[in-house]
């Protein structure tokens, strides 16, 4: 094997691994395990022999077991688990490179690693690594082609390899520049927080300025019982008090929601009006539970949930874990039962705003019409912009927006409208959450990103909370590629079928089968306690059994009848304490057998084995039977 070919394989293996590691998404433990690749390739470079089949086989199985555990428990995320798997397999492979096929396998794994890495990162280093990978891959393919043809020595490789590499590079660069893709990558979690980014937050504040960067990180995925037309408002938290700069929720008191098993019930709503949403929320710096409209009840595997009087639902603390829950809610407007003066506070400095509100709504009598007027006025006369220059001194940012810049984003619009309504004596509040998202046709669910964060207004009109959204539509952003949507749908399937497989699902499964007998009703309760663990154990056992079976099977079909008998005898001798190992020849085994006095007709059997195995003679069935019981041990 030419040296250069080896070098290229090593480079390719490393680009894949480095590409993955630079994403910073991997478990450090797995990276440490993956560093076994370094001694592996040093051995490979020095032409040390590959590990034995047994070693590679048993290591592979343990890696697969780790993979199952990893995907279910450690990282709980199939994507990351596959990334870990490739890292470790790549390391394992470095000890087992023998044939050209093995090199191809390394290339394939590197490619897989880079595809996964591209999903996890958006850093420039990755681009460089990917270009290195492409160039090396082309060179390796060209060289392997010439090696196969046997012309490597005869012709000069430099020119063609350089030419093809340069062409590939140009094509890649053109493709890289021209191909449409998302501004902010896809699914990246480590967005730099140094710039103000769009996204959900429990607070609304006008304390900082500058241009807001859109963050396209996925925050939530949701399946719904009904296909709603767009204009879906994912309600998060309600804010009632504005101090001139920022909004706050002054309902400090939260109450525990009554829990029955895994169901937390807030208000009773007739079943026919219920809209069900199965929601998967990515790790988020917030304790808010999202849902469409008014939440009736929540199904979630947690101990406690809290609610406030503004209809907000919260977990007991900020969870930086992935959450999944089912929301049962209604789109019907909520009756305003609370004391509405809580929603009328207005900072005294905003006199111009109050005047402005009155001026716009002059001559209108009905409350609803006043609100609609303000909503439409803001929508029509103001421009959507993520750029907000700092206001002049002594100028409230809201008034600066209303009277000077006349451009801003949802928070400006919602705040302005809420304050204007309050000036007119209409109780109002701000709600933050998400607007719409995008439908993923592949999995028929909705993807909600940080950039979909939104705030809007709710006002009491005729005793009911009515929603208003004064924000003009934002300019459209680039749509994600079909490819990334497809990948995301796979992730969603994994979440909904495996990760969120709850004890309730388990119970349902049990009851769907034969557990209708009253005596057996106790079983689901007992097993329900540790369903996840049970599932893991079952999976691992099944996996291990499967691999054991496969390996046995492979071994069986690989060896002929007589060889199997020989191997059995060898094993038997070893158990009896014979000093034999992999380097023992049949003659050595014969010697050991006679030394230990084990077996009869061993010598005949061994010579028969040697005739068949190395003398290339076939046995007929009669001979087979004759020799089947030759060794009596």
């Amino acid at each position: 094997m030419p040296r250069i070919y080896k070098a290229l394989t090593i480079i390719l293996a490393f680009t894949g691994c480095i590409g993955l590691i630079t994403t910073g998404e991997l478990n450090p433990l797995m990276i440490v395990a993956g560093t076994a690749i370094i001694p592996g390739y040093i051995r490979f470079w020095k032409d040390k022999p590959a590990l034995t089949k047994l070693a590679v086989g048993s290591l592979s199985i343990s890696v697969l077991l780790v993979f199952i555990l990893d995907s279910l428990l450690i990282s709980g995320e199939i994507f990351i688990a596959v990334a870990h798997l490739t890292i470790i397999f790549q390391a394992l492979k470095s000890y087992d490179i023998k044939e050209p096929w093995d090199h191809l396998q390394v290339y394939f794994m590197s490619l897989l690693q880079l595809i996964i890495a591209s999903e996890l990162t958006q850093s420039g280093i990755f681009g460089i690594i990917f270009i290195v990978f492409l160039i090396t891959l082309v060179a390796a393919m060209v060289i392997s082609h010439f090696t196969k043809e046997g012309t490597l020595k005869k012709i000069k490789l430099k020119a063609p390899v350089t030419a093809i590499t340069v062409i590939t590079l140009i094509v890649t660069v053109v493709f890289f520049i021209a191909a449409p893709r998302l501004q902010g990558g896809f699914g990246g979690k480590h967005y730099k927080k140094s710039v103000k980014t769009s996204g959900f937050s429990n607070n609304v504040s006008f304390g900082s300025f500058g241009e807001i960067k859109l963050n396209h990180e996925i925050i939530m995925r949701a399946e719904m019982s009904k296909n709603l037309p767009f204009s879906i408002y994912w309600r998060g938290v309600m804010l009632n008090y504005f101090d001139g700069i920022s909004w706050q929720n002054t309902f400090k008191k939260r109450y525990r929601i009554y829990r029955d098993k895994d169901i937390f019930e807030l208000v009773k709503i007739p079943e026919e009006k219920i809209l069900t949403q199965k929601i998967f929320v990515e790790p988020l710096d917030s304790d808010v539970i999202f849902g469409i409209g008014t939440i009736s009840r929540i199904e979630m595997e947690t101990r406690v949930l809290f609610a406030d009087y503004g209809g907000g639902v919260y977990t007991h603390d900020k969870s930086y874990k992935r959450l999944n829950y089912v929301i049962y809610s209604t789109l019907e407007e909520q009756t305003a039962t609370e004391q509405t003066y809580d929603y009328l506070n207005l900072p005294s400095e905003l006199i111009r705003t109050a005047d402005f509100a009155r001026r716009i709504t002059r001559g209108i009598n009905k409350t609803i019409d006043k609100a609609v007027k303000i909503e439409n006025y803001l929508k029509a006369n103001y421009r959507y912009s993520l750029k907000t220059p700092p206001p002049p001194e002594d100028m409230n940012p809201i008034e600066d927006f209303l009277f000077n810049t006349k451009q801003g984003y949802c928070e400006h619009y919602a705040t302005s409208m809420a304050l204007m309504l309050r000036a007119l004596g209409i109780p109002s509040r701000i709600v933050t959450g998400f607007l719409n998202g995008e439908k993923n046709e592949y999995g028929n669910y909705i993807i909600v990103r940080q950039s979909d964060a939104h705030s809007w207004v709710e006002a009491v009109i005729d005793g009911k909370w009515k929603r208003f959204d004064p924000t003009p539509p934002a300019p459209p952003t680039t749509t994600p590629s079909a490819y990334s949507l497809f990948l995301d749908s796979l992730r969603m399937k994994w979440y909904s079928y495996v990760v969120s497989f709850s004890s309730a699902d388990q119970k349902q499964l049990f009851s769907n089968f034969s557990l209708r007998f009253s005596k057996l009703k106790a079983i689901p309760k007992i097993t329900g306690l540790n369903i996840r663990k049970l599932l893991v154990i079952i999976l691992i056992t099944a996996g291990a059994a499967f691999f054991f079976f496969v390996i046995k099977r492979v071994k069986r079909t690989k060896y002929s009848f007589i060889t199997q008998e020989y191997l059995k005898f060898k094993k038997f001798l070893k158990r009896k304490g014979a000093k034999i190992n992999q380097s023992s020849t049949p003659s050595d085994i014969l010697k050991e057998a006679s030394r230990l006095g084990i077996g009869h007709n061993v010598s005949e059997f061994i010579s028969l084995y040697q005739i068949v195995r190395f003398g290339k003679k076939e046995l007929n069935n009669e001979e087979k039977n004759k020799y089947k019981n030759l060794i009596l041990y």
Partner: protein
């Protein structure tokens, strides 16, 4: 048939060289592989006897050349002498023109003479005055080296040691056999009286048959992995050459043939590996055959035998 006469041959030689059946087997295997044998040992352990007995038992001519520092190539090959009657140069054959040639203490002569011998061994013919003389068949050189005497010797360079198929040691016989040797008849008398058990022609025929012994593919791989392992061993400076591999293959086939098989089994290769490859290894530390054999053993222990 072949097996029978070969075991008879072994028996006959064993009756003279007592307690050395393995060395005798190696000598016979070398003969069957058309190779040459290098014996390294101190004087007086039966090297000459082995060579002479072998020649006698196969009914072939035998010549012994005692190598000295002042020897010339012509002392081995022969020379042309002017014949005044025919007014021509007549070629007078040297001692190399025999079936079994014992080159005693080969390291005592100058490299020039050594190389003349080794060339004859390799080519199986000698060229003098633009004429080529073919050596008789079968032809086998058994060379001996005294490992303890270094004074005034010319150790064989690696390239020439490589020409020998095998390199073995005889060693002292075990006590019981030594006793038999001491009280028994003088060796030479027995040998003189010895009846041949096989003819030279038969040996040549067997040598041809050895070539058709089959080697299964996985055994070829096994052999290759042994050779490759010598090249990658950290204690070895220079591993086995391709010729070394060829020789091992030949010896394995001859060993199989000797055992009466027409196919090679793993043991043939494993058995022959040390005597065939040991002397070809150029070690990093020292230059002892014992140490090389130890390393060979280590290597063989590591390589899995095909099943």
């Amino acid at each position: 048939m072949a097996r029978k006469s070969l075991s008879l041959l072994q028996e006959r030689i064993d009756s003279v060289i007592k307690g050395k059946p393995n060395s005798v087997r190696m000598a016979i295997v070398t003969l069957l592989s058309r190779g040459h044998l290098l014996i390294e040992d101190v004087p007086g352990v039966g090297k000459t006897t082995l060579a002479f007995t072998l020649a006698k038992a196969i009914n072939c001519s035998f010549q012994r050349i005692q190598f000295t520092s002042d020897m010339l190539p012509t002392d081995i090959i022969g020379l042309s002498i002017y014949n005044s009657d025919s007014q021509n140069f007549d070629f007078k054959q040297g001692p190399i023109f025999a079936n079994i040639v014992l080159a005693d203490e080969i390291n005592r002569t100058s490299p020039k003479t050594q190389s003349a011998l080794l060339e004859a061994m390799n080519e199986r013919r000698v060229s003098i005055d633009r004429k080529t003389y073919t050596l008789p068949e079968p032809f086998m050189v058994i060379a001996t080296q005294n490992p303890l005497e270094y004074h005034g010797t010319f150790p064989l360079p690696e390239s020439q040691i490589d020409r020998f198929l095998m390199h073995i040691k005889l060693g002292y016989p075990e006590k019981e056999y030594e006793r038999q040797v001491l009280i028994g008849q003088q060796n030479l008398e027995i040998i003189e009286k010895m009846e041949p058990v096989i003819t030279g022609e038969e040996i040549v025929k067997m040598q041809l048959e050895v070539d058709s012994v089959i080697v299964e593919n996985s055994l070829v791989d096994y052999l290759i992995s042994i050779i490759t392992a010598t090249r990658n061993n950290e204690k070895i400076r220079l591993g086995v050459s391709t010729r070394g591999g060829q020789f091992l293959m030949k010896a394995a086939k001859a060993s199989a043939y000797y055992e009466g098989r027409d196919y090679v089994v793993p043991n043939d290769i494993k058995d022959m590996a040390t005597p065939v490859l040991g002397h070809r290894l150029i070690l990093k530390a020292g230059h002892s055959l014992n140490y090389a054999e130890l390393i060979m053993k280590e290597i063989l222990e590591r390589i899995p035998v095909p099943v």
